[in-house]
Amino acid sequence: MLRVDSLAAGYGHSQVLFDVSLGINAGQVVTLMGRNGMGKTTTVRALMGMLPALGGRVLAGRVGWQGASIIGQPAHAIARQGLGLVPEGRQVFPTLTVLENLTATARPGPWTLPRVLALFPRLGERAGNLGARLSGGEQQMLAIGRALLTNPSLLILDEATEGLAPLIRAEIWAVLAQLKAEGLAILLIDKNLGAVMRLSDHLVIIEKGRSVWSGAPEALAAAPEVSQTYLHV
């Protein structure tokens, strides 16, 4: 459903992406891997149309969504076609309550407020609290719930388990497994190798703005030199 071909992009005068390609089919979980600063977040921003708002731009390449090109479209138009973003750093709206965070940008579809509150009961307990008052784990749940309520056909999660306590982390992974089981396609960025290997159907590694390796989790497990070269610090 999503195809990224030879994407090149950057901020101002510094080019960050040179040649990134990846693809996701319906119902698949694909994980984008690579060390810090290699361009994973920039890839997400570029395909979501967010770079112009952040002082960057796409220089070359193609992004296809359900067969049609979406490159160059404004971020809101891309999102409305079914891409739901859980951004790096969670970015919940600090001055909105939990309930407002969830409903302000919601669009109709199978995901409803009661369903999201059933998925994350903690959010229901804190419905009236401001986003800024939540713990990191609760903010992460809120960011996922907020994206689900836009009823995407592809959920994009950028470092959704980073900096969380092990118990919360496990809860998030369980939710992601459940979403996958329901058939939602997921583009994942995560450094948690064990969990990523269990959940993903396909892996793409990027190094300095180029996708340098891709394959199934089993293939990565069978090629220790690949993770040695591109993933270990």
């Binding site: 967010m50 971020a75 809101h76 138009a77 999102a79 951004p87 970015q91 600090p94 001055t95 965070n101």
Partner: protein, 307 residues
């Protein structure tokens, strides 16, 4: 100074405060949501006053003038957005400041060409002439009371929309993180045009209401604009609630300062230098207050942005 005069000046300060709020509300949202510095926002206030004055002269009715001026102020704001401002959002703040300053100069000149340089007078509507008796021997102009009430009512309405509706939640979300709102599928430019139009209309509303108690003249928006910037910085950029509190505060400090400072100086100085230093100190007072508040809370009373 008697307590009676103090009471009157405090009321005048609150009345000035609500006018400031009407101008500052649009400014803070436009700055907050689009990160756009609009120096020309004061022009909307001036335009409101001139439109009110012209329509009042033409129709003979202040109320009809108010009714006509509001939609025209809205249209003028949207036209400016379309012609000038939307080409500036992606630019840096310096470009925005320069371009919108150019808009001020052009529109002040345009106003001079259309209406002349001489100040216009607008009569207080007959219904609101006279004064209300606060206590025996102490009256306050009914018209000022009407401004205060209308301002408070508008603030209440705005509060309801901003704090209690989904649209308001989107505006608040946009003020803290506009790219994220867009990434979730909301057309931030359309949201912004709405905010911008309402802001322009509110500033125009303030201008129409101020017309009968001020002289309507070119450049009248400039002083208000400077104070409105002080208000939004004190209140926290993007915060309507902050703008409301800060506007009342600045209105009170400004008005009370002007009447109290010369008297205060009289305790130390001869009458004539007391009047001069008093006036000079009074005009500094809001900025001193702003510096004090920012030293205590660097991002204003009600910070909106994350981080």
């Amino acid at each position: 100074m008697s307590t009676q005069l103090l009471l009157i000046q405090a009321l005048n300060g609150l009345q000035f405060g609500v006018l400031l709020f009407l101008v500052a509300a649009g400014l803070t949202l436009v700055f907050g949501v689009m990160d756009f510095i609009n120096l020309a926002h004061g022009v909307q206030y001036m335009l409101g006053a001139y439109l009110g004055a012209s329509f009042a002269a033409a129709t003979g009715s202040f109320w009809l003038a108010l009714l006509l001026a509001l939609p025209v102020a809205l249209l003028a704001g949207l036209a400016l957005e379309w012609l000038v401002f939307r080409h500036l959002y992606a630019r840096d703040h310096l470009a925005q400041v320069l371009a919108t300053f150019g808009v001020i100069l052009s529109l002040n000149q345009l106003v001079r060409m259309v209406w002349g340089s001489a100040p216009l007078q607008v009569p207080v509507p007959a219904l609101l002439e006279g004064g209300i008796q606060l206590m025996p021997g102490l009256t306050w102009p009914t018209y000022r009371a009407a401004i205060l009430l209308a301002g408070l009512a508008t603030a209440g309405l705005l509060w309801l929309v901003v704090e209690r509706t989904r649209l308001g939640a989107l505006v608040r979300a946009g003020a803290s993180n506009a790219p994220m709102v867009a990434a979730l599928g909301v057309d931030i430019h359309r949201l912004f045009m709405l905010v911008f139009g309402c802001g322009a209309m509110l500033a125009g509303f303030a201008g129409v209401m101020a017309a009968p108690i001020l002289s309507v003249e070119p450049g009248m928006g400039d002083t208000v604009l400077i104070l409105a910037f002080v208000v939004i910085v004190i209140g926290g950029i993007g915060s309507v609630r902050g703008a409301f509190i800060a506007a009342l505060l600045v209105g009170l400090i400004e008005t009370l300062g002007r009447s109290l400072m010369p008297d205060l100086m009289r305790l130390f100085l001869a009458p004539s230098p007391a009047r001069q230093t008093g006036a000079a100190l009074a005009s500094m007072l809001v900025y001193v207050a702003m510096a004090g508040i920012l030293a205590w809370r660097p991002r204003g009373l009600f910070p909106v942005r994350a981080g």
